[in-house]
């Protein structure tokens, strides 16, 4: 009994390599090679072992954080400020994102591609600048107003949220929407009944994810003077009081952890809703209520007054900044500097992502919560890995940059590694979650067939995870290129150094040029990353 069916013998199948994927893979390898070559790794020593003592002081202080009562009170108060900024910033971002999502969705533009591309291009501006850069600009317009911190988070986050929300809306099955339109409903009503319910889970999940990110951003803003934990951290950091630095890092880690746990609970529940009959599920509803209450509290706590946004002084300062910053400087020397530092920033971001992705993959099996029962050793190792990742992302990149500068010689490498270590904290967690959520059945089936663990990993787990891991890494690459500004602001190389130099000299025309270059660079990286992800699908 061989071929039973009398179907025409098909032409013999041949092995095609997917050219597009191979081209992307090759380009990726070349890019990492180029970044490595530019890092000085092959052209001379990069390590400075003599600085191990200095770095050791930072690490050992982790075990003896400052626990003085007065300092703890300061930290507690600052934690509340950071929380208030995060809640308001993320809340405003979600609001702005939801409003902007409709005009930037493909659904709204139908076949008119130009209009859609244009609106997406408009979003590139707020998205291309890091929160810290927004903070820097806003301080010059709004002064010490708490709006600075809120808007600095809300502007880039709002743009990112709008893009993600629009994508979510576009990906929702269109059947019921089209049916409603055909039945004579208006577009708005049709979207409300046909698109929104299906998309709401994704929208809610993403909103909570943004809240988690906003906590870390609020700290970065504190570094440039917007108050809160970041401010305390900056003060202790400038005088290298590592014990105090760690206390603030722990407070931040705790805040991150709370946001992580809360967000995770909501996402889980949204992904697998519990049957509650006609009554609402208390968890997501409660979480939304808690956030709304939190926004109310934060408004009161920060004494945010909308009047400041439209005050005469704000207009005056805006006019001052506008006239000082326009037209942008275009002298050859500046443009040359922009070009070379932009290349450095690109190198840093590529190295950072390569490092973080490799680390995240290596740690993924440990970072993922074990499926089913696990021994105490495995559970402890997993908890320690997750704690380490939490701390990696709780220590802001500028601090990592200085600590790494103790043990590495100056150049692109310390900045790149600082970003890499921080990104590893974020990516390690995301990859760990991808492992937890991955389909286990293929690997289980292979086990039942007697496959070795390596075989199971090669044929069952790895192929299924490769796509999500690459997509997450590419997505973090977009974030990392923005973050290079952050380590640059504290002098670790890249275009951020140039931005820092020009802002501290109040050379506004040059600042305009540098900012334009950063937006362009981010936009290009976004574009490449987007194409690469499409090729991977």
């Amino acid at each position: 009994m061989t071929t039973v069916l009398d179907r025409a013998a098909p032409p013999a199948a041949r092995l095609h390599r997917d050219r597009r994927r191979w081209a992307w893979a090759l380009a990726g390898v070349v890019l990492v090679g180029w970044a490595l070559a530019g890092s000085g790794l092959f052209s001379g020593p990069v390590l400075n072992p003599a600085g191990a003592g200095q770095a050791g002081r930072f690490l050992s202080a982790a075990l003896r954080p400052e626990l003085d009562g007065g300092f703890l009170r300061v930290v507690a108060g600052s934690t509340l400020v950071t929380l208030a900024y995060a809640v308001l910033g993320a809340g405003l971002a979600v609001l702005l994102g939801a409003l902007a999502a409709v005009p930037v969705s493909r659904t709204a533009w139908g076949g008119r591609r130009t209009g859609w591309l244009l609106t997406r291009g408009v979003l590139a501006l707020p998205r291309g600048l890091h929160e810290a850069v927004w903070g820097l600009l806003l301080v010059n317009v709004l002064g010490l107003d708490p709006w600075v911190g809120v808007l600095a988070i809300a502007a880039p986050y709002g743009a990112i949220t709008a893009k993600v929300f629009a994508d979510l809306l576009d990906e929702v099955p269109r059947g019921s929407y089209d049916a409603l339109l055909a039945a004579g409903a208006g577009r708005g009503t049709a979207a409300l009944y046909g698109l929104l319910p299906a998309a709401s889970g994704g929208l809610l999940s993403y909103s909570f994810y943004r809240l988690e990110c906003a906590v870390r951003s609020a700290v970065v803003l504190g570094l440039i003077g917007a108050g809160g934990l970041g401010y305390q951290l900056a003060l202790s950091f400038t005088s290298l009081r590592w014990e105090q630095v760690w206390t603030t890092v722990y407070a931040l880690a705790l805040l991150c952890l709370l946001a992580d746990v809360g967000g995770r609970a909501v996402r889980r529940r949204v992904a697998a809703p519990r049957r509650t009959g006609y009554r609402r599920d208390p968890l997501p509803a409660g979480a939304v209520l808690a956030v709304v209450a939190g926004v109310g509290w934060a408004l009161w706590y920060l004494a945010l007054s909308p009047a400041a946004l439209v005050s005469a002084r704000t207009r005056e300062q805006l006019a001052y900044l506008g006239s000082a910053a326009w037209p942008p400087a275009v002298d050859g020397e500046l443009l040359g500097d922009v070009w070379s530092t932009a290349l450095d920033a690109l190198r840093m971001s590529v190295l950072a992502i390569a490092f973080a992705a490799a680390g995240a993959v290596a740690l993924a099996a440990l970072a993922a919560r074990p499926h089913g029962p696990a021994g105490p050793v495995r559970r402890t190792a997993g908890a320690l890995t997750r704690l380490a990742l939490l701390l990696l992302r709780a220590v802001p990149p500028p601090v990592w940059a200085l600590v790494l500068l103790f043990v590495l010689l100056p150049g692109v490498l310390p900045g790149a590694l600082a970003l890499g270590v921080y990104t590893l904290g974020v990516l390690g967690r995301l990859v760990g979650e991808a492992v937890e959520e991955a389909d286990r059945r293929p690997a289980e089936a292979l086990r039942a067939m007697g496959s070795s663990p390596v075989g199971r990993w090669l044929y069952g787990s790895a192929p299924a995870l490769a796509g999500p891991v690459l997509a997450l890494s590419l997505y973090r690459w977009e974030v990392a290129i923005r973050d290079t500004v952050l380590v640059g602001l504290l002098g670790a190389g890249g275009i951020g150094v140039l931005l820092s130099a020009r802002t501290s000299a109040f050379d506004w025309p040059a600042v305009t040029t540098v900012l334009a270059a950063i937006v362009l660079l981010t936009f290009l990286v976004d574009l490449v990353s987007d194409r690469a992800r499409a090729a991977l699908r």
Partner: protein
């Protein structure tokens, strides 16, 4: 908070509005402000309530001590001048300059260069006082012991070393050292791999101690206080001391003079120069600033700094 509301209500004529909708929203929001939930606005132009005098300091030396003990200065000043004084924390040099320009800070403890930047951006700003040591301020060049360099006045060997400054707009950690390096024919930007900017005097000391940077420069006052506390790593060698220059000073913004009266500059100068190490409350303030006493100062003291700043592209 009737002051700010009254001041702003003049701009609410819809006929003159370039953005009528925004104006209308503003009008609605003003109701909320009048209802009492608005925050204090530094832009207050009314004379019946000038609001507090907002003071601040660039985060230069021991910032965490200075900023966390700010109550000391604010209280002392408040008692002496019978004013409402509020200390505003700032972590960034450039932010301090910007906040002085926007009027969020009335009286700021600036470094030489940041003071010049702030004064040029804020017409009407006046220098109030400086410390006794600021008339005769120095920076010290430090090298890592591994370089084998012995203390000397010759700065040229530094040109071949990996070198870090402190903050980019620090007078003692960047500007004046760069000037003295250039005087001896060393390109202040020409160090191998470009100069680093550690961000603070303490970070400079640590980086030079680690050897990542072989040499650096910092504020002599910070160096001396760390040396006295025995906190300097044996790997750090004091290499050279710069000639003297003017550095830190208190700068007063024009809006404060409008609000508190034309005699404010004189009252402030009087307060600072009157601080005496013999009075316990005063001594606390002086110690916080590491000063024996405060002395008057004038804009001309910083002309050299302004010139060097222009040459280095740090003043526009």
């Amino acid at each position: 908070m009737r002051g700010p509301a009254a001041a702003r209500s003049g701009g609410l004529d819809p006929g003159s509005a370039p953005l009528p909708l925004l104006r209308r929203i503003a009008a609605l929001l003003l109701v909320a402000v009048l209802a009492g939930c608005g925050s204090t606005s530094p832009a207050a132009g009314s004379t019946d309530d000038p609001g507090p005098l907002r003071i601040g300091a660039i985060p230069d030396q021991d910032p965490e001590v200075l900023q966390r003990l700010h109550g000391t200065v604010a209280d002392s000043l408040s008692t002496a001048l019978d004013l409402d004084v509020e200390y505003v924390p700032v972590t960034d040099y450039a932010a301090a300059v910007s906040l002085f320009r926007t009027g969020d800070l009335d009286l700021v403890w600036f470094g030489g260069l940041t003071g010049v930047q702030a004064r040029l951006q804020t017409p009407g700003a006046v220098p109030i006082a400086q410390r006794d040591i600021d008339e005769d301020f120095h920076s010290v060049f430090v090298v890592n012991a591994g370089t084998g360099l012995a203390p000397s006045d010759d700065l040229t060997p530094l040109g071949d070393l990996r070198f870090t400054y402190g903050s980019e707009t620090s007078t003692s950690g960047r500007l004046m050292p760069a000037y003295f390096l250039a005087e001896q024919g060393v390109d202040p930007e020409g160090f191998p791999g470009g100069p680093g900017f550690s961000g603070s005097h303490d970070a400079t000391l640590s980086l030079v101690a680690s050897g990542s940077y072989q040499a650096g420069v910092l504020n002599e006052q910070v160096y001396e206080s760390r040396a006295a506390a025995g906190e300097i790593d044996p790997a750090v060698v004091r290499y050279a001391r710069t000639p003297a220059y003017h550095d830190y000073h208190w700068l007063l913004g024009p809006r404060a003079v409008e609000r508190f009266g034309a005699d404010l500059p004189d009252r402030l100068t009087g307060y600072f120069t009157g601080l005496s190490a013999d009075v316990p409350a005063d001594a606390e303030v002086l110690e916080l600033f590491g000063a024996g006493s405060f002395v008057p100062t004038e804009a001309a003291n910083y002309d050299q700094i302004e010139q060097i700043g222009r040459d280095l592209g740090l003043v526009n």
